[in-house]
Symmetry: C2
Subunit: 337 residues, 2 copies
DNA sequence: TTGTATGCGTTATCAC
DNA sequence: GTGATAACGCATACAA
């Protein structure tokens, strides 16, 4: 029966019009809140809508209005709190702007280009994390890259990196450290390269020559490996500036286990201020980024671009904040961590 | 010009057909990989597609084929690794099934019902986390609830809770603890209620009467508050079974700060095995859930349901694993944490 | 092998 | 105030 079909397949504007005894145009009008519909008719339509539990088809609507009310977000992965927070900021702001969000995790895909092309098909604009920027095709849709670099017609937003890293490095110098190493893969992410630049800047300011970065990815096991190289005498240092907290934490744990005192024998600092950094002893000195705001800003910019704004050539950078705890050599404060 | 318009507004199947000198039907055919198209024609079409950088409109396609190739996921929030992992599992499996995913974070929305109704409009099926199950409307689309209870026509999947909690509680008894309290809001989540049931079961097995749960939400500050009530003598205990790790960690930190020895004066166990639980001292005894698999299973079930399978009445539950460290009273092992 | 024509469910522009 | 009806961009049954 028709009822059964409607229930299974979903009511359409036609079934509502039928039920209410009006035309589909009228149904559409009351649903759009058009004021030029009589009280009585409005009532009839609304009743029919309720009775049939009608929901306009998103696809049909998108086709008619020529936009999707949806933004896409491309992240490499979702391990650690960083990307999750970015996502929260993005989704929350998007929702405030009445936009839905489609998410794609690039790392798990074999063909990332295809993935973002597919995405571009169902959204009005795309925000991608810096490391995925290579996969932006010329979809013609607005694009903003997060924590990466701007390109022709593509806006970039990011959190401050070099100054924070310079401050952190300088802080280590002030603690009397003389043999600092930067740990992280500066080729993998624009973000990391900038942090290394800050590391270099602090050295140059003192007329020192910075050592090359110790390559390491972001996972804990990569940090463990670095610590073991250190333990094995593969290289030396009295302070480590790590690319992020996971790395720093893993290095610190393995080093401590290996009999190296932190910060006594080795000062360690990280980046991101994850939860563990507050709980671990010694507390990890690190840098806090306004990650959610970054996500929100991405959604905001997308909104502007979709609304017709011209992409700005300069990238916006959000301020960042050094968080001093005791892994750098400062006296522990405890309590709040 | 036409070129400019195409670039801005996106090429359509018509522009491609024009450029290739064929009909739109043929264009559609080669794009669908229909084998009944001549080599030569295929080439022409592909060239045109490349030249115009054509991408089929998702909305138009969805409207025509009557499905979206997209699944929706509604989560309450994204704090902590739990939801993030769930999301990873879901998105990854969905991608393997060639489905996109739309995400909605319920906590940040004023009108959640509206949010999932809107979502239902653009997806083929929805997976929602247990606590959001109340917001499923009669969209008619397949629905599966994660970590919640099945209802008429709605499948449920979850990780094992009561047996794990019973084991954990029994373990505490074996350590000689006699005054155990369960910490968490058993009204807020089906998951938590089940864990409390396990807590109760362990008591009953020994002919003991379990105390009522100590109400507390999931955030760290809630754990801090519980610890302070304990410190203030508001209630007593020699062992705490906490609803999740964040809670346990916060309680432990505040208690330690307040001079209570863990596990000496107070044994503490959590749930989830977050990263911090491995790094903190004493290491937190907890329970590990197959969270990613849970997410993947949700996508799988959705796929079956969308494909026409009948929703199964029994809920599937994934096995869970107790992770013993030292916050329960066991001797520390260190190294791996 | 390829083209024509129709339907998918809305929105929006016309008339009435 | 309300009702036809033309897009919107694609897939597909039916012809040729």
């Amino acid at each position: 029966m028709a009822v059964t079909d409607d229930a299974r397949r979903g009511a359409t504007i036609y079934s509502v019009a039928d039920q209410a005894g009006v035309s589909i145009a009228t149904v559409s009008r009351v649903l759009q809140g058009s004021s030029l519909v009589s009280e009585r008719t409005t009532r009839k339509v609304l009743d029919a809508v309720a009775a049939l539990d009608y929901l306009p088809s998103g696809a049909a609507r998108s086709l008619a209005v020529r936009h999707h009310d949806t933004y896409g977000l491309v992240l490499p992965e979702l391990s650690g709190p960083y990307y999750a927070e970015l996502l929260v900021g993005f989704e929350t702001r998007a929702a405030e702007l009445d936009q839905s969000v489609m998410l794609v995790l690039a790392d798990t895909k074999e063909d990332r280009d295809l993935a973002v092309r597919t995405l571009a098909t169902r959204v009005d604009g795309i925000a991608l994390f810096g490391s995925e920027a290579a996969h932006v095709g010329a979809s013609g849709k607005p694009v903003v890259v997060i924590a990466g670099h701007a390109r022709a017609g593509i806006e970039a937003i990011a959190a401050e990196n070099v100054e924070g890293a310079r401050l952190l490095t300088e802080h280590l110098f002030e603690h009397g450290r003389t043999n600092l190493r930067f740990v992280g893969d500066t080729d993998a992410a624009a973000d990391l390269l900038e942090r290394y630049e800050g590391f270099v800047a602090a050295h140059e300011q003192r007329g020192l020559t910075p050592a090359d970065p110790v390559r390491a990815e972001f996972r804990e096991r990569d940090g463990t490996a670095v610590a073991e190289r250190l333990l094995a005498g593969d290289f030396t240092a009295d302070a480590l500036v790590c690319g992020n907290d996971e790395l720093a934490l893993a290095v610190m744990a393995r080093l401590t286990d290996g009999g190296v005192a932190v910060p006594g024998d080795m000062a360690i600092v990280g980046w991101d201020d994850v939860m563990t950094s507050r709980y671990v002893r010694p507390g990890l000195t690190t840098v806090r980024q306004p990650v959610q705001e970054l996500g929100a800003l991405a959604a905001d910019r997308l909104h502007d671009l979709v609304s017709g704004a011209a992409p700005s050539a300069e990238r916006r950078v959000l301020a960042t904040q050094v968080v001093i705890r005791s892994s750098c050599g400062c006296p522990p404060v405890h309590a709040a961590g």
